[in-house]
């Protein structure tokens, strides 16, 4: 069981910002922006990467057999290639990073779940993600967040 996260509170002396990142240039700017915000507010930062995944996606028998290993590899890759460097960058900028987390799921919904779990006061994301095509077809993560998120969302251009 994880420790109970503090309730989200905008007047909290040490506000927590969740920044969602991927490999894109805009998400790097989102990270830099969030780091500056955190620094200015004496806040803390949680850096998250969501691997787009759905429990209803079709899969072959062989993919199922390997799924556990693939998932572990995807998480390790996110940790080493995205979250690790992002943490270093944020900390170099002087921000306090309390956690980095990689998780599978629907990107916007998982970011919101993570914000809730960590008691974040704000979510920061970049405007365009990795895949332009997917965005065109399914709508973007930022617009989804802006529409349904229960805490403030900052979209960095």
């Amino acid at each position: 069981m994880e420790p109970q996260p503090p309730a989200p509170d905008h007047d909290c002396p040490s506000p927590l910002i969740l920044v969602g990142i991927d490999a894109s240039a805009t998400s790097r700017r989102a990270l830099q922006f969030a780091a500056r915000e955190v620094l200015a507010d004496h806040g803390r930062l949680v850096i998250a990467h969501v691997v787009d995944w759905s429990p209803y996606r079709s899969a072959t028998l062989e993919e199922n057999e390997r799924r556990h290993t693939d998932r572990a590899r995807e998480i390790a890759l996110a940790d080493s290639d995205l979250l690790g460097p992002a943490r270093e960058e944020a900390e170099r900028a002087g921000a306090t990073v309390v956690a980095t987390v990689a998780r599978h799921g629907h990107v916007a919904e998982t970011l919101m779940a993570l914000a809730r779990e960590h008691g974040a006061a704000q979510v920061v994301v970049g405007r365009t993600g990795d895949s332009r095509l997917r965005t065109l077809v399914f709508g973007s993560t930022p617009s989804h967040l802006v529409q349904v998120c229960t805490i403030p969302v900052t979209v960095v251009p």
Partner: protein, 504 residues
Amino acid sequence: MPVPTLPAARPLPADAVADTGVDATINDWFATVSDPVVATIFLSVPVLGADLPLIVVWLVVAAVFFTIWTGFLNIRGFGHALALVRGRYSDPKDAGEVSHFQALATAVSGTVGLGNIAGVAVAISIGGPGATFWMIVAGFLGMSTKLVECTLGVKYRRENADGTVSGGPMYYLSRGLAERGMARLGKVLAVVFAICCIGGALGGGNMFQSNQATAQIIAVTGAEDSPLAGQGVWIGLVFAALVGVVIIGGIKSIARVTDKLVPFMAALYLGAALVVIAFNLDAVPGAFEAIVSGAFSPEGVAGGFVGVLIQGFRRAAFSNEAGIGSAAIAHSAVRTKEPATEGHVALLEPFIDTVVICTMTALVIVITGTYTSGEAEGVALTSEAFETVIPWFPVVLAVAVVLFAYSTMLAWSYYGMKATRYLFRDSAVAENVFKIVFCGFTVIGAAATLGPVIDFSDSMIFAMSLPNIIGLYLLAGVVKRELAQYRTKLRNREIVPVAERVDR
């Protein structure tokens, strides 16, 4: 014909395939090999004037036994099974693992195949409308067998060094029985199962599929006048190539496209069935009456009541594979702390496959009355039934048949491969030999007539149930404890839906 309950060589669409040259040679050769095998597996005893294949008794007794043994969990656990599939019990922190839905969908797309279209037609043309009734009963009973199989499949699966998992009867027979002090017997049963599984993969999982898909392609392109008539071997080569690129060439994208199309085609098939039923709404009460009265007092069916019963149960077993052991291989990839969860999910499989899809096919055939003409057989009969209302449907059906056949072939190639790996201790050479032989049998299936192919496929698939069900009986105590402790946790609310968890 060694099995009197099977169709004798009537004019079949597939006969057109086998009249000439290469096809005829392959066909003759095939019959000599398959006949003795079929005679052994389908050893029958005469009961009340019908020939009762003992293997059908074997499956039905097991299904009835496990239905009672688990206290009708096939019915009681249905709601919980749906909740599991909908992810109500899946922790979002575990997202990215194989979901219950994915495991079910993958297993179903391997199971939903020609059994649902052709098998039902065979059952009704031989056993009359009443066969439908027994098919549905067999579907409900089969849910218990699957529940038991798949619980064991997950419980005794092996984690390989590379992090992948291997499960299925080979593993619960060898590891489960070893745990109960019957290591030697377990090993023997596991090996017998693996051998039969390879046979079943080549027969029902492959030849039968390519045979019926070929017959349907020829039928929609003009039957005897089709430019493809007598060219079954070439169609078979195309299938073999398509299977080969996926299982040998490792081109997974084709398999993935197929897996996306199969649920779509299944929905289209069910939709079309509903349309046919809607157009013949006035015939529905009569059809239900024919199904129920035909189940208990059939007219003009060889063997009467028993004859109908046999047909229904036999086709149901071939369609949903309950007791065969194949599903346990497919379901064991799910990561769950409780093997019973996957057992619950698996019980939905015979429900979807037999109780829903087979029943729809049966209703269409019975309502339209096409089975009474006695001319068409197998897929052709189903196709004719749909054609009475939707003239262009045979073409769609042909596409569906080909897709179902293809996805079933891929699924069975996987089962056969897992069995080969078990037998030859993960030898890459053995695996590749199996894959090549598999593709070869795809070609043979397309070229042979329906009679010998359907007999052989049945016999090999049913043979798997011998070692599998012996194992299920010997492990019945283990399953009962496993299911009981899980149901207790559910009752005591130690396991609750994610939405109700306090540490959420």
